[in-house]
């Protein structure tokens, strides 16, 4: 084999190999390229209506279901306007959101050994007087006292439920336990419940959220994903 043969085979081999492998690989790994390389998300980035915050009672969390628009194959196109009804036949990302009032942490717990020591949840006094038309400072106060938690367990993503008799969230799959603030109490989860990082109360007294969570990368050398 001469030098030019070698180069010819090498170059042709590389070209033919690329033509044969790149299209199918990119076709199958498209979602990885889009989410991990380009940083896109299938979930609509707009605000979604959750519900009126005045409906959240003092000592019990309450759950609201939010249908996030999902752009995935034949899912709904992003519906940024919450007034538009989602078509029933289209697939949306149904997430349950637990709302509750923050209970003050008296003593910080340690992940893996014991949960926080907490007091009574505190509901903003303004909500006894009115349920909408809040001023800027009132909205800030509400948001500072509101827990906006994803029901997706931080362990393996099962939906958690509030157990009034225990005053804890319990995950049905592997027994993860969280307190009313979503802090870790017991079981296998490596962290507390996921919080929605972008949430706001508007003048109409309703809460709006975006599909963003407080994901801490590199926590315990694990990468938790909200599924």
């Amino acid at each position: 084999m001469t030098r030019s043969d070698f180069l010819g085979f090498g170059v042709m081999g590389a070209i033919v190999g690329a033509i044969l492998t790149i299209p199918p690989v990119a076709f199958v790994l498209g979602p990885i390229i889009k989410t991990d390389v380009l940083g896109d998300s299938n979930v609509g980035s707009g605000w979604q209506e959750v519900g009126p915050v005045s409906e959240v009672p003092v000592e019990e969390p309450v759950d609201f279901v939010v249908n996030f628009p999902l752009q995935q194959v034949y899912g709904t196109k992003a519906i940024e306007n919450p007034n538009v009804q989602n078509s029933e036949s289209k697939f949306t990302l149904r997430n349950a959101i637990w709302l509750s009032w923050k209970a003050p942490i008296k003593e910080q717990g340690r992940q893996g050994s014991n949960g926080d020591v907490i007091g009574k949840p505190q509901r903003p006094a303004i909500l006894d007087e009115k349920s909408e038309g809040f001023t800027e400072s009132e909205r800030e106060e509400i948001m500072s006292k509101l827990n906006v938690l994803s029901n997706s367990c931080a362990h393996l993503g099962c939906p958690v439920r509030w157990f009034p008799e225990k005053q804890l969230y319990l995950c049905p799959c592997h027994g993860g336990l969280y307190d009313i603030n979503g802090g870790w109490v017991g079981g296998p989860p490596p962290r507390g419940m996921y919080r929605y990082t972008e949430a706001e109360v508007r003048e109409n007294g309703k809460l709006y959220v975006k599909h963003k969570f407080n994901i801490e990368k590199g926590l315990d050398k694990q990468e938790p994903y909200v599924v």
């Binding site: 979602p31 989410t35 996030f68 995935q72 697939f91 393996l156 993503g157 994903y225």
Partner: protein, 276 residues
């Protein structure tokens, strides 16, 4: 009358078998594949591999049938399974076989693997067959995992979410694994399509040739002893079968062809004498 028909039928079938053997060698192949002397002790343990082969064949057959009605879309998947279970003729049986033989398949694989492990069947020269078997095990686990989501009910949905999140904890590639399986960053239509493609085409297409390789390697080395020993035993088995046939011939028709019978008996006696 009946005797003549029987003779004609057996002649015709013998002709067919000879014709096929002449052109394909199928009889020799089947003899080599099917006949093997098996020790009487623990013989039931040697059926575990066949049990795995049988259940996985059931998976292929019932899986093909289920595809006639199943629809892999988020809004129709559950309904189509519901249709199979309630309206399609024998739908419960077909899906029931698919479901239960999948469960038994996993159990049989575990037992088969344990039998091979404890009997030392993975040792030289059968190491590669063990390796192929482990790859097959992983592929079957993949099939079991991806099949669960296709029902698109609460059970399968959350089990798959849990499974994918287990994958997300794997070092370095966790994120890629979970995004690959999800087909994005959330459970949705792409997830179901992907699981369908993996369950129905990717893994079965990978598993079929590996089953062939597994069986070929099994026959190459035999289940008991080396290739040489195996053919030797097979020759002895054929010899014994022939002897038995001659013996029946002799007792049945005393006056017919005495010479052959006598010579053969002498052969057998001589053979046994020298063998022991």
């Amino acid at each position: 009358m009946i005797g003549r028909i029987r003779t004609q039928t057996s002649e015709a079938s013998q002709f067919l078998v000879d014709w096929m053997e002449d052109r394909t060698g199928i009889v020799t192949i089947l003899e080599h594949v099917l006949y093997e002397p098996v020790p009487k002790r623990g013989a039931w343990l040697y059926t575990l591999g066949s049990a795995v082969l049988f259940t996985i064949t059931l998976q292929f057959l019932t899986g093909i049938l289920l595809l006639f009605y199943y629809v892999p879309t988020t809004d129709h998947a559950w309904d189509s399974v519901n249709y199979i279970m309630n309206d399609a003729y024998f739908g419960q049986v077909i899906r029931g076989i698919h479901y239960w033989s999948a469960n038994f398949l996993m159990a049989f694989i575990g037992l088969h693997m344990g039998q091979v492990f404890f009997s030392g069947g993975y040792k030289s020269p059968r190491e590669l067959n063990w390796v192929v078997g482990v790859i097959l095990l992983l592929l079957v686990i993949g099939l079991a995992f991806t099949g669960y989501l296709l029902r698109w009910d609460q059970d399968g949905f959350w089990a798959s979410v849990v499974g994918m999140k287990i994958g997300s904890y794997s070092p370095f590639v966790g994120g890629y694994v979970v995004h690959f399986l999800l087909g994005g960053d959330a459970v949705g239509p792409a997830t179901l399509s992907r699981f369908f493609a993996i369950h129905v085409w990717l893994l079965p297409a990978a598993i079929a040739p590996l089953i062939g390789a597994h069986l070929y390697l099994l026959r190459r080395h035999g289940a008991f002893g080396s290739e040489f020993e195996y053919t030797d035993r097979l020759a002895k088995l054929h010899e014994r079968q022939r002897m038995e046939e001659y013996a029946r011939y002799e007792t049945g028709e005393d006056e017919g062809e005495p010479y052959v019978g006598r010579r053969d008996r002498a052969d057998r006696d001589g053979h046994e004498g020298s063998g022991e």
